[in-house]
Symmetry: C2
Subunit: 435 residues, 2 copies
Amino acid sequence: MELSALPGFRDFYPEDAARRDFIFMRWRETARRYGFAPYDSPPLENIELYRRKSGDELIGQIYGFTDKGGREIALRPEMTPSLARMIASGGQSLPKPVKWFSIPQLFRYERQQRGRLREHFQLNCDILGETGVAADVELVALLVDCLCAFGLTESDFRVRVSDRPLLGALIAAVGLSDPAQHAVVFAAIDKLTREPAENVKRRMVEGGIVSSQADQILGLFQKKGLPEIASEYDASPAVCERVLLLQRFFGMIEAMGLQGYAEFDLTVVRGLAYYTGIVFEAFDRKGKFRAISGGGRYDQLVRTIGGVDMPALGFGMGDVVLGELLTDRGLWPTDLQPRTDVYLILVHESLRTPLLSLAHQLRSAGLSVDYGFTESAVGKQFKTASQRGVRFAVILGPEEWQRHAVKLKNLESREETEVGVEKLQERLLETLKKG
Amino acid sequence: MELSALPGFRDFYPEDAARRDFIFMRWRETARRYGFAPYDSPPLENIELYRRKSGDELIGQIYGFTDKGGREIALRPEMTPSLARMIASGGQSLPKPVKWFSIPQLFRYERQQRGRLREHFQLNCDILGETGVAADVELVALLVDCLCAFGLTESDFRVRVSDRPLLGALIAAVGLSDPAQHAVVFAAIDKLTREPAENVKRRMVEGGIVSSQADQILGLFQKKGLPEIASEYDASPAVCERVLLLQRFFGMIEAMGLQGYAEFDLTVVRGLAYYTGIVFEAFDRKGKFRAISGGGRYDQLVRTIGGVDMPALGFGMGDVVLGELLTDRGLWPTDLQPRTDVYLILVHESLRTPLLSLAHQLRSAGLSVDYGFTESAVGKQFKTASQRGVRFAVILGPEEWQRHAVKLKNLESREETEVGVEKLQERLLETLKKG
């Protein structure tokens, strides 16, 4: 029988679980500092939820099946549709803006490739009920701090920020007004960081864009930044409006002291069609990994899914790429697995009753305590304690026990003292508190 | 479109998520005190894993499907088979005993009944690689403390302990030696706390047990306890051996001071066929709920699943019954949702830049900070802060700002003082530390 997990799925042995829990802990702690509240939804949803959002185009990658009741079920491929469903269903009475986060496990069913997983965990942070650009700033700042919480700095990553309506207005200014043409251009530009410009142009031309217009569009990406774009397209009120909005956005990012972390980059499109405003992606500055995080504003989705008007924006950040990045930068803490405080060592089996009593007493005081379940040599018990990185050994020997005492040994400094049993708990708590 | 979760699945709005996370936190903290390390496995497994453990008998309740690659997949209905798979596959090199815990979400597909869920979260704690009864004691003590951690006491619950080999030896002493007869008796006795004795007898007789023997077996459950059983069946070495083992078990439970939490109860069988030793269930003493927790020794399972010899024992404790019990006893803390430390109040929009700077500075110092994203009246901002239970308001007004100062208002005591901006962070950290 196959003893490994299903292809594309991970088992978490304690060392892996400790790393995963470390990531979750840092994410939760950062979300808390930003006043975000936790939520969750089931890992299974009616597949209709994703059809309603994206049409049939993305259904192919969904890990889906038909259940015994004949329902078409999906293992959730992303969290946002479930969030939109929850908000449309029960969240309307919540005071706005809603600031929520979650760390769901997400699933997809792709042809199996080397190292490609079919699941990952993803931090999702969303703000709902707020149209102002200050919410976009808040979200990008949270994204930045969710990475800085691991010791990553502006020399490690950058958030590239663009704006869908600005790109739309620029395409319109070039002379393309048909939404179908916009879709062709968006899809082509989405490849711009991964493919040579000539390929991107060919994609546009094959999609029905005139060659000279395709060149003009590619020219947009040679611009040095927002001021240059604004001065060249100052005849378009739509362009000017979105440039001003982005300038306010970057002004507020600077007010937070985060200007080293975010930059304008018109090539950021974000594949998903549902974005309606500012969009962003966080990238490793060495360019070694896929995007670390991505998101943006999706003001129509809650209405599409649940018929409720609700502006919204959010981002997702997966545990896999982040974990690779932390490994690459050597940023995993060395001591992730919690250390046991005390190992009780039994010199003679006749003292098992007081050992059990002591174990339970120390545990009730909040200490983590371990001991051997069967009789074994004292040396072997010490070896077990050392291998497991325990801090203190408490040795129960018949001689000391007659004096109601035990030996307390610091397994790092090798210091050993005799302590009265009634003083032991206090002594351990004091010493552990110090260091 | 349906806006609720799939039937039998729960959405977790922030209040629900806070309760769930509270349960998880207490469980984790208790497992840590006992030196248990976290692990996890995928929520999907090859259905063969459960066939191998239980035959086809339990497959009917599994939430299963065929994936796009033609594999028969199960949403995990329990954690132990995945644990056995992981141990057989990669855990052989781990130092023994292995003490691991996990909090998986588990799934089953039953006909939908009122209030019956198709998923729950379950704490799983297991010890592997240890045959001695001290491990059984450790596990039951951990179970007890996993409930005491919520403020439950010996007047709220009790752990009923029995022993499969003892029951087997008693049935044999009555004259039944065929394993098929044992299976009939075990299945019948499993109903003893829910059905009248005559029904249980009928189940045995219908299963081929002679009426007088069925009476003798039912008579076992009239015995007052281990000494009475031992004296009546002292001709059976197997009975005596297991009685002695149970007496050692209860002696060690008493050494830990937990004698008020555990009692011998021969009616505890635990439905699952794979238990091989001591078994136990935790029950609400008022008898209002289903079992809170259950487990026991399963020394053969790792071999059955993975061909590796590995004695093992464990228990599961679900979040749903425990949550009902905490509600019934009024033991939920009132202040589960984390409170935001500071709400920044903007007297005039022109001060948004310093507000953003201050927000990021205070968050970097570890404080949780919130503020409004769009201009609104000061009174409305105060109202939002109060509604959300924020501790402190920091008011940025043009007048104070000229003196590089802000007003700091304690939203509980209504006390208000002016504080220099450079002193604010220190003052807030000090005050929050105090209370």
